[in-house]
Symmetry: C2
Subunit: 339 residues, 2 copies
Amino acid sequence: MAKSVSTIRDIARILGISKSTVSRALNNHYDVNAETARKVQELAAQLDYHPNLLAQHLKQQRTNTIGVVIPETVNRFFAKAVGGIQEVANRAGYNVMICQSNETLDLERNNLKTLMASKVDGLLISVSRETNQYDHLQYPIDKEVPLVFFDRIVEELAASQVYTNNYDICFEGTEHLLSQGCKRIAFVAGPQNLYNSRNRLNGYLDALKKNNIAISESLIVYTNYTINEVESYTRALFNLRERPDGVFAINDMAAIEMMHILKKRGLNIPKDVAVLGFNNETIGRLIEPTLSSIDHPASDMGAAAAEILLKQIHKDEIVQEKRLIKSRLVIRESSNRIA
Amino acid sequence: MAKSVSTIRDIARILGISKSTVSRALNNHYDVNAETARKVQELAAQLDYHPNLLAQHLKQQRTNTIGVVIPETVNRFFAKAVGGIQEVANRAGYNVMICQSNETLDLERNNLKTLMASKVDGLLISVSRETNQYDHLQYPIDKEVPLVFFDRIVEELAASQVYTNNYDICFEGTEHLLSQGCKRIAFVAGPQNLYNSRNRLNGYLDALKKNNIAISESLIVYTNYTINEVESYTRALFNLRERPDGVFAINDMAAIEMMHILKKRGLNIPKDVAVLGFNNETIGRLIEPTLSSIDHPASDMGAAAAEILLKQIHKDEIVQEKRLIKSRLVIRESSNRIA
DNA sequence: ATCCGTCCCGGGAACCTTCCCGAAAATCCT
DNA sequence: AGGATTTTCGGGAAGGTTCCCGGGACGGAT
């Protein structure tokens, strides 16, 4: 087991004073003689004393820690969001405890439970793709632990949220494809229990409706964010009697893999098929043709969520706040048939 | 502040028994009547009691938590490694606390300090690119807190490590490029204070020596893993009087960006320049030409590190263990001039 | 000399849990 | 029945910290 680490009472014993005095000296409280304070601090440095955070937090009933639950860090969106969160949290002197749900409801439940049991001061959550029950999310709300949803929000719950304009941007993206002369636009949609996914799909559907384009269920793919399925649904889509002439994909990797498959089939992009991705990854600028996409500001969303959370923690009262961080359409070659 | 959460003494008070009994009942200790145990557990469920982990850990002098310090989660290698770590840790009932150093020594120090102060049971570390002092890493070793380095190891310290065959694989990669007829192979090297980077460079250098190829300093680029610099050093390399006819890049994204730039310059890959990346990202299969790379098993390394760490934690004695997880060369089109 | 105010400091409770030990109650044995 | 043993439970310390409160020392004022 770990070697003994020095505690406040070791210092007290050695110096022949009480632990109260040592505590005061270390937290440079006023009620202590300058000389003894100096001696305490010297000895503390010498023994490289560090306060036991468990004890400190237990006593203070605060942990200076915020808990984060995300689906996966291998998902670049969330990796970047975590970056934004850490930035803001660290600057405010808070630690961040990151948990991954691996896109499962079970792990999300577990993560939330241990974060609550660890007495984090607040929670930042982006739900898993499986999440269709909300009791575990209601729990911190009931206990009045500040909670902010970001990106993958749950509309039904009374908590703050940082979200993006999924509906509008997908409407805009779809209209963009239409403006390029696409008549049969395929849409690769996410899991429909996610509020985001539903909004995105609706944006697409309403754009078609507004432009009097018939909606075809066969052009809509419901996917699970796993990349393995790209090949199979691409085949299905492009074996249709009338194949798509445009694709709005759920993310850039799916878009890129589709383009790869389509090129092999001898289709030209964007002439035969215009492609629009989602997330605006760096790689999009480096492939051929360059990929049009939706810039989805991950780091900003994480930072905003952390700011709202910290405000709530410090205010000591919970006011629901909803902050919109806009995504925007980035047009490159893969969807540009006119230039 | 958070609404009061029920504690063990609430249960005791309501049932009119002592907290000791409640504690025993909840941990189904033998020393308790079946009937009272049932009553306690019922009430606990009803009040949805969860033990306060701070208090529990303080008392038990163990936290069932392992601390992880990595440079960045946006680096896909580390994101995947964290996945492997979580997998193993969770299965063993351990929680994982992830900290990012953002590739800075300062944050790495801070992270380590708070993890130690939080009394984690063990540490998993991959050092930042700035790390050239080791006092903060020596500290947990002195305190006999189990510590395992993975991937970005520090050779000088007496700790277990999970590493890959950097030297051999770079030797092999370089010889592969030579076998394709390359005479002037550029090497994009990482920060030389990292043991990994030095080994990789040495593998390259020794492969050249063995094959009697003159080493040219102008073909070696020292980079910092930041992507912005790719353009500038690519220009420098390919404005040389004698330009390279092969490139061994530090990672796939750098390789891809270089290929992008070179193609714009009208160079053919692999005919004019053969390119070899590092990390074997998924994207490598999807671009044109497909990218040769080094498969660097992130998840396996993370999992192995976690296993070794858990073994040390349970053994209660520290035996240094060094585990090699081999990388391997994956040849695709970008370096294949012969097919 | 007495009193008061200031300056320092120590004792002890509290945070919540676990665990040791002793005691009370129940059961068993002869 | 009476003692011995088992079962069940409570008290209290411990883990490390903070913080309230009370008290001692000492200076100056009356």
